[in-house]
Symmetry: C2
């Protein structure tokens, strides 16, 4: 509102737009993010952004890659490949968790930015260090990132929708033993929400499979 407290006029540029958009995402989530709100925060009109952006979709892609710049590999270099690999994936998860809706954004954006490439390269290195065959390592990068993204997106739903937890709890608690005997018997296990334990359990399964399984046959034939 007070226009004189700023240096004449903030020079617009892509990075400033993307940073502002990420701030809005962190504060208000995906529902609160719009080109008009970004423009207002930058003290301009939405139309001005189209000098730097093709459209909202491009902003989403830029936001994702700029956020992924925070994903960092482990500092200490003497670690086992599995520890480095899991640490990298946990760093990726932390970045997605920091901003509400960023995981959903990642699920609907085809990532090709420099930070995605950097993370893929690191993942490939760790998987190769673990002894994964080429085809498995290539598929494994996708499998691991997709799973982590999806699990954060799911967690985001519970966080955003508020009473989602209670709704699932009620639905599962209310199942009839006659109609769904196993669901009834295992409902406590289904409802336990130890997200860290679940993540590590799943990652170990995925990693073991990627380094230990035979590459898919059709994959070989396709090359």
């Amino acid at each position: 509102v007070s226009r004189r407290s700023r240096p004449a006029k903030a020079p617009l540029n892509r990075e400033a737009i993307v940073s502002t958009a990420l701030d809005i995402l962190e504060r208000d989530g995906l529902a609160g993010l719009s080109l008009r709100r970004v423009a207002t925060a930058l003290d301009t009109g939405a139309a001005s952004l189209y000098v730097y952006l093709k459209n909202l979709n491009e902003l989403h892609a830029l936001m994702l890659d700029q956020a992924l710049a925070e994903v960092r590999p482990l500092k200490g270099r003497g670690c086992f490949w599995r520890d480095s690999l899991k640490a990298l994936l946990l760093s990726y998860r932390r970045v997605l968790l920091k901003r509400r809706g960023l995981a959903h954004l990642a699920m609907s954006t085809i990532a090709t930015g420099p930070n995605s490439l950097r993370i893929w390269e690191l993942l490939l290195r760790h998987l190769r260090d673990g002894g994964a065959e080429d085809a498995n390592a290539a598929l494994g990068v996708d499998l691991l990132t997709l799973y982590v993204t999806a699990i954060v997106a799911e967690q985001d739903n519970w966080r955003t929708s508020g009473h989602g937890v209670g709704r699932v709890r009620k639905a599962i608690s209310a199942v009839s033993e006659k109609q769904f005997p196993l669901l009834f018997a295992l409902k406590d296990a289904m409802l336990s929400v130890d997200s860290n334990g679940r993540l590590h359990w799943a990652l170990d399964i995925l990693i073991d499979g990627i380094v230990g399984s035979k590459p898919p046959l059709t994959q070989r034939a396709a090359n």
Copy 2:
């Protein structure tokens, strides 16, 4: 447009609304789905829908569950548990693939409808038949459905965005050998898009892990 060709006035109800919404989703994707369009298709105003729906979110949840009614287990009962399990997951995948955007809808909806419960029960049964421990079976249901949902959502992106494939291909093909040696070396494997081979490879890894791994320690402690 021709109002006389219909029987006086279609009696509005939840199921008709949801079916119409699913038709629109199948034809125009998630971007083309709106309460106003559903209302127009039903020859009424958007406000009328609020008698049957709390809001758009509830419509999404109802759409998901109604679509999941089409997920069917294998007919022949003499199959191995693994074949039945994979067939069920492939049926789930086919349903998600049929409507553009349905997978994304599934990713942002907390499923608690009767058809979700039915599918969970079947998955639990197959995993138990395979010898999975209770805790693993419970976590496995989530792991399997989440992965299949995510992989279809990703596939949907490529389908909807049109030139996405080309963009990734260009980005990966253009990586410098110096900066990203592994990405450069494995770029052919990264770019091969045999979605069926990839899915079966991943499902076998997940299933093997669920039936063969130790349950997570923290999971046990939480109970």
